[in-house]
Amino acid sequence: MVNIKLSDDKIIRIKDICKSFNNEGGELINVLHKTQSTFGYLPAEVQEIIARELNVSLAHVYGVVTFYSFFTMIPKGEFPISICMGTACYVRGGEKVLDEFKRELKITVGQTSDDGRFSLSCLRCVGACGLAPVVMVGEKVYGRVAPDMVKDIINEYK
């Protein structure tokens, strides 16, 4: 796990988010969504503050964070790469595209490259099945990706 020291103004920002949901335990998932979109990820230190503010146990917060795949406890790369592994993309060769990304970046799913620039993850259907196989880099969607396009995609961000 990544150990970080939170700065005072970050702590205030997290408390503000909790307050905007009335510090209510039932709003935990909304609080986590908001916090993750502000900070990029949810390290243990952040979870501790949220647990205290919402007056729920840290185990409960941790349980929820680890249950949902949308939440992450490790920082993503500067350019997060997500490969769609939905059924439509799978039957049109998504796995081969994933293999190529792994080979090019020398990381596996869930990891971030050493220079912190790229991270690799899988998604289940982004709803653009007509363009299968689909790859997302940040918010940008690449459709009909073939393994031999992978190098060019990565180079766009180098």
Binding site: I29, G86, Y90, G127
Partner: protein, 597 residues
């Protein structure tokens, strides 16, 4: 829409959006301004037309012409050819074969031979961010009618008589569900719209919410009135940002028009809607898990009964329905239960939206009457299999469903027939596979999904599915035995019988249906160690044909693991112990000298 002579409808559905449809809009706008046409021609951003593989798509009305508009040059050509010289920009028009059959073709509305649009009636025809457009197309009429002319029980009776069944997968009669919730006594009740759409490869609900959010809002209000609830919640996937934005806009507009809030249409009925976000867990589509997730907890299912209609969100009676189920409600109220019940089969009424994807020519959304055959969907509407390959299977029902074959192509599709054939309706994902797909690998793909998505609460699902996956892994690696196949079958039945929720009770279906329909493929994998679709890498060998090889060294230079050796101008050789079967050599060989066996 009146004061403009022509309209350009631009698809703003997720697929076209990701193909930069918003840039197409600014391109078109710029050229209209340049040509002084901006007072005559209006640009409207709508939602999915259904031609998702050819975007960004635009439709010109009233001429009914579809174009693909990718670049500024395309936009210029369309404006100059279509509007100024009055011809058509033929190069950019979508092919007839693509347009025929697909959901939004206005011609089809006149002659609804194969498709009938009920849930999708407005998708692609109206501006989803403008409530007036919805109202002009008959929106909120049903809510008004119900509030003025019907009491709650009469409304429920209409839905019951229509024969509408839940479109989220289970197929439970909607009217009956409303009636049970209405009879549960409580100080507060809830209407929940299930927009979690977890089936990977399905995008029906997303398209409805992006294209016609008001239809869902209107129906939720009607439901609230019928069951006696004043609060509605939409549980929507965080992965659908566009749908969330449009839904938020629509809710705000409905409040402004007094169609949500206190004392709606002066009839003393209060109703309002809030959004709740999913966070990427498939099991949260299951209604009890969904409710726990809305309460801010881990989305783990609980045993039923009690059903949500008796004790749901915060312990109060809660009516959960799917997006598409809701979208059909206003039409049923407006056109009558008899009209709706006249469409479809004896036990499954009305239409179903399917997301057609996979190895098919026309990928997109379709809405067809119940009782249509798979053959009509795949070969007539879908335009057949890509690249002239042979049809092998079609998967319906997602991870809970099964693979159907050639033999099922002429079965009329409804809830009961699909279950009898070993699959299920599911939420409407339909993935077409061709001869290149290995069915053992497909079963493994679904089990991989289930293993990842199982919440872990009950043992048969948590451990059983993992074991199923491992056995399938052994078989695809060429190490399987006949006993493994027996084990697969027995374990599948145990998991189905002993699991707590619908996830585990259906997760072995992809295994059982492929065992049933593609038995020979399993046998080939374990006895002769052969994968007829050349998908299982462990059983493949890449071999260089010494007669064809000219010794150009292209393969050796491109091999990522240096498994290929040989002198220049002499035949090369692949070391099978090193080869990782990536196929890079085959792609680089210009002489077709490398064979896969």
């Amino acid at each position: 829409m009146a004061k403009f002579k022509k309209h350009i409808l631009v698809c703003g559905g997720s697929t076209c959006h990701s193909l930069q449809s918003h840039i197409a809009i600014s391109n078109l706008k710029a050229i209209l301004v340049e040509k002084n046409l901006e007072q005559e021609i209006q640009i409207i951003e709508t939602a999915c037309f259904g031609f998702c593989s050819s975007g960004p798509v635009i439709l010109i009305l009233p001429d009914n012409t579809y174009y693909k508009c990718t670049s500024p040059a395309d936009a210029r050509m369309i404006v100059e050819e279509h509007f100024i010289s009055g011809k058509k920009a033929y190069d950019l028009m979508l092919a007839e074969s693509q347009i025929d059959g697909l959901a939004s073709n206005p011609k089809l509305l006149a002659s609804p031979k194969k498709q009938i649009r009920i849930a999708l009636r407005n998708c692609g025809n109206i501006d989803p961010e403008n409530i007036n457009d919805y109202i002009l197309n008959g929106g909120y009429l049903a809510l008004g009618k119900v509030l003025k002319e019907r009491d709650p029980q009469q409304t429920i009776d209409i839905i019951k008589k229509s024969g509408l069944r839940g479109r989220g997968g289970g197929g439970f009669p909607t009217g009956l569900k409303w009636e049970i919730t209405s009879k549960s006594q409580a100080d507060q009740k809830y209407v929940v719209c299930n927009a979690d759409e977890g089936d990977p490869g399905a995008f029906m609900d997303r398209s409805i919410l992006e294209g016609d959010p008001h239809s869902v809002i209107e129906a939720m209000a009607i439901c609230g009135y019928s069951i006696g609830a004043s609060k509605g919640l939409v549980y929507i996937r965080a992965e659908y940002p566009l749908a969330i934005t449009r839904l938020k806009i629509a809710i705000a507009q409905a409040r402004e028009y007094g169609l949500l809030g206190d004392n709606i249409l002066d009839k003393g009925f209060d109703f309002d809607i809030e959004l709740r976000y999913g966070a990427g867990a498939f099991v949260c589509g299951e209604e009890t898990a969904l409710i726990h997730s809305m309460e801010g907890m881990r989305g783990e299912p609980t045993f039923k009964p009690p059903f949500p209609s008796v004790s749901g969100y915060l312990g109060k009676p809660t009516n959960v329905n799917n997006v598409e189920t809701f979208a059909s409600i206003p039409v049923i109220i407006n056109k009558g239960a008899e009209w709706f019940a006249s469409i479809g089969t004896e036990k499954s009424k009305g239409t179903k939206v399917f997301a057609l994807a996979g190895k098919i020519n026309n990928v997109g959304l379709i809405e067809v009457p119940m009782g249509i055959t798979l053959r009509e969907i795949i070969f007539e509407i879908g335009g057949g299999i890509q690249n002239g390959k042979k049809f092998k299977a079609v998967q319906t029902g997602g991870p809970s469903g099964g693979c159907l074959t050639e033999a099922h192509l002429d079965t009329p599709i409804d809830y009961d027939n699909l279950i009898a054939a070993g699959s299920m309706m599911g939420s409407g994902g339909m993935i077409v596979m061709d001869e290149d797909d290995c069915m053992v690998s497909v079963a493994k793909f679904y089990l991989d999904f289930t293993v990842e998505e199982s919440c872990g609460k009950c043992t048969p699902c948590r451990i059983g599915n993992k074991r199923l996956y491992e056995i399938l892994e052994t078989i695809t690696q060429g190490k399987g035995t006949m006993q493994d196949i027996d084990k697969l079958k027995n374990l599948s039945y145990v998991i189905k019988d002993a699991s707590l929720c619908g996830l585990g009770q259906t997760s072995p279906n992809p295994v059982l249906s492929t065992l049933e329909n593609f038995w020979e493929e399993y046998i080939e994998h374990v006895t002769v160690k052969k994968c007829r679709s050349s998908q299982c890498k462990a059983m493949m060998q890449y071999i260089i044909d010494a007669e064809q090889c000219v010794g150009c060294t292209a393969c050796a230079r491109n091999c990522p693991v240096n498994a290929i050796t040989g002198e220049r101008k002499l035949a090369h050789l692949i070391n099978q112990d090193i080869c990782i079967k990536c196929g890079a050599c085959v792609e680089k060989c210009k002489f077709n000298a490398i064979n896969v066996k």
